[in-house]
Structure formats: structure tokens, C-alpha cells
Symmetry: C2
Subunit: 229 residues, 2 copies
């Protein structure tokens, strides 16, 4: 079956930059391409937008299909449309930006033929198409946004220590933070619920666990409160 139009039309895809955090580093999910162009190269998960689905639905579908994962945070990043960005012809891609709790989705294998794997964002293989630009844009967005929106929590398990949280910020922002000042500031926002639990199986004093209080944040947000750093 084929489709005919009076004027030529670009193809439209979505691509997803999915970030996860493990003990070592900030990671991005990549898929190894099986076919030309760029066969064998690693690329961002993504694919063509179907006629009846929204852009965001397309992004969610591709993530499910290619990596078997669901994400709590998904937002549109930027649309890349340089005429020569795909050697097959004019392809415009709407890039999305996702955060997942890597602790949950441990080393998920791709459900279709292709390989999926997590790479350190500071050390990825050479990427297909203009995906290096897309990744760079996503990193910039993450770095900017993490400071004034409480999205960092989407990268951590539901219960976390303040040190984990601090390491997250240090990793994303690429600079060290002062422990005492960091704790003061984040606790002063009154968005963390202090639990009666401590971490397990560590060979030193166990740290207290906290949980991010989404409900409280929504309330404060309405009242004009602004999360910051």
C-alpha cells in the first residue's frame, strides 16, 4: 500500500534520550543499529511517528518496544530538522528527554532484535545521525533543569540517602557541592520525608533514608514556591 501527496513531505520520527543513574555514573540508553544507514553504530532509541498517535505517545511506544521500559518523566526536548541529517532523505526528528530509575530497570534486554545498553554519558561510542548533538542538547537541558525543578528524584530509587542525592547533583552539574550547605538547603525546602529507616549492608555507619514528597511539592508549587538547587 502506498500514499500519494501533492507536495513532497518529510518523514517524522521521535528519538529518546533516556538518562539513568547508577553508582558510578550518569548513563544514557543506546541501541545498536542492525541495518543501514549506520549499521552497527549505536543510536538513540526512536522510530517513525504513526498517523494516529501523538508525538509523546510515539516516544513512549518506542521506548516500550525497543527497550521494554516505562518512564516517569518524559518531556519534549527539541526538534532536529537539518535537511541532510539522514542520508535516506528528509527526516525530521522530535527528540524527547526521559529519566528512569535505573535501580528498577536493571540491564533490561531489548525486546526486538537489537541490542540495548547503558553507556556513561561522558564516554559514549560514536553515534549515528546527529544523535551526538541530540545527546548534547539533552545533557544541557538536564543540567539546567535539575537546578530549578525537582526532577533529579526521578533518577533515584524511591528511598534514598542525602549523600546519594548530593552525588546525583554533583554528577549532573559536574562540580562538587559542600555537604553541610547542600543538606541545609534541601532540608529547608521541607520536601523530603525523613523515614525511620537507614540503608542496609554498608560497611560503615548507615545513612538515614528519605523520600521525596510529590504531594507537598505540588501544593507548594501552586502557592508560588520555587524549587531551586
Amino acid at each position: 500500500m502506498s500514499h500519494t501527496y501533492e507536495y513532497p513531505r518529510p518523514a517524522v520520527t521521535v528519538d529518546c534520550v533516556v538518562f539513568g543513574l547508577d553508582d558510578e555514573d550518569l548513563k544514557v540508553l543506546l541501541i545498536q543499529r542492525g541495518v543501514e544507514p549506520y549499521a552497527g553504530r549505536w543510536a538513540l532509541p526512536g522510530g517513525f511517528v504513526r498517523m494516529e498517535e501523538s508525538l509523546e505517545d510515539a516516544a513512549r511506544r518506542e521506548l516500550e518496544e525497543e527497550a521494554g521500559l516505562r518512564t516517569s518523566h518524559l518531556e519534549q526536548l527539541y526538534t532536529f530538522g537539518a535537511p541532510e541529517r539522514d542520508p535516506r532523505g528528509r527526516v525530521i526528528t522530535v527528540a524527547y528527554f526521559a529519566l528512569v530509575k535505573l535501580s528498577a530497570h536493571h540491564l533490561q534486554a531489548a525486546t526486538d532484535a537489537r541490542e540495548a545498553a547503558w553507556f556513561s554519558v561522558w564516554d559514549t561510542p560514536k553515534l549515528a545521525f546527529d544523535h551526538a548533538d541530540v545527546l548534547a542538547t539533552a545533557l544541557q537541558r538536564l543540567k539546567g533543569k535539575v537546578r530549578y525543578q525537582p526532577i533529579g528524584f526521578e533518577l533515584l530509587p524511591p528511598k534514598f540517602t542525602l549523600s546519594q542525592l548530593q552525588r546525583l547533583y554533583e554528577t549532573v552539574l559536574e562540580r562538587e557541592l559542600d555537604k553541610r550547605n547542600f543538606r541545609k538547603k534541601i532540608l529547608a525546602m521541607d520536601l523530603l520525608e525523613e523515614l525511620d529507616e537507614v540503608e542496609q549492608d554498608v560497611s560503615h555507619r548507615a545513612a538515614r533514608l528519605y523520600r521525596f514528597d510529590h504531594k507537598k511539592y505540588k501544593q507548594l508549587e501552586k502557592a508560588g514556591f520555587n524549587f531551586e538547587l
Copy 2:
């Protein structure tokens, strides 16, 4: 001539939200539609993306064609792709956000058949398609961005008074600012060049004119300086 593809493809357009500032208010540029759908309704300037041009080039071309204007500041805003946003079928639009010095482009007539006009952003007619959403998104972006990027200057003539600048911020942010604090803060950034000129033809004490120093800003930016409010 017609074009055939194996799979159906959405059409892709660009739409531009162009802001300008005059003595009264923040304005947005609208075009009256001549044809169905939404014939007679006002809409954002825009049109189909050609196969050989980039998205940004398309936005610039449409602005030139539909309103005869060039803009200093043009950035991508968001991509709108709900399946039912255009009654003619699947049309994905990449929205752009532009700022122009209204003082220069005085009441420019459209170069093609359609009417173009400036409307107060707080009081527009009913818009075609989902353009009200697009406009709302653009306003939100402007409000957010004006505080941490010196883009407000793109709305003012090259030489302006501090009161004009303050009014700009008050209009965009929808709140009053303290005159002394505002002046202190903006002058402390050392980004304004104080000219040996004052405004003309006012029936009260004439205010000193200033110019924004783009070069100095670029330098400071590289050195890690952050513009803020």
C-alpha cells in the same frame, strides 16, 4: 506533480510567535486567514516546510513572506503534534518564537494577500487551530527566559531609557518592580553603555539613554557570568 511514499506521512509546518513592544503593551503578530479551514480567523504566521530548507530557515522565510519582517532573535519553541490539531489531516507544526523591535517595523503591511496586524497579547481574537496553546506556551517561555537571558533588549530600540527597560520587564512579568532596586541591579551588571544623549520631545525631565553592550555580554558569559533579572 505528485509524491508517493510507502507509509503515510504527516505534513510539517512552522508557525511563528512574534512579539513586539509598543508604548502600551506587549504585542503579538497575527495574520488573518483567507481560506478554509478557519477562513477569516486570525492565526500565527507560518506555513509548510520545504524539503531543502532547515526548520529555522522555513520560519524566517515565512516571516519575510507573510509580514515582510526580519528578526534578530528567533528560537525554536515547541513542536505541536496532536493528531487532531488540524481538520485537514495530520499536521505537525514546529513553533518558533521571535522578538522584534516594533519601533523599526512600524505597522508593516503583509506582502501577500492576507492582513497582518499586531494585537495585545492579553487580548487577542479567537485563534485558528491550536494557536492559542502555542501563544500561551510562547508567553510562558518569554516570561521565564527574560529573567535569565538578556533577550528583553531585542524588544527595545537600540537606545533606550532605564524606565523603558523597567516597563518592559513589568509588562512581561506582569508585576511591578521597585525603581531603585531595578536600576541598581541592572547597572551593577555593567552591561549597559551610558550614552551622552537624552530622550527628545518629552514634556518633563528627559531621561538618559543607554545601549546594551552585546560584546561585553558575550565576554562575561564566556567567563561564567550569569545574567539574572
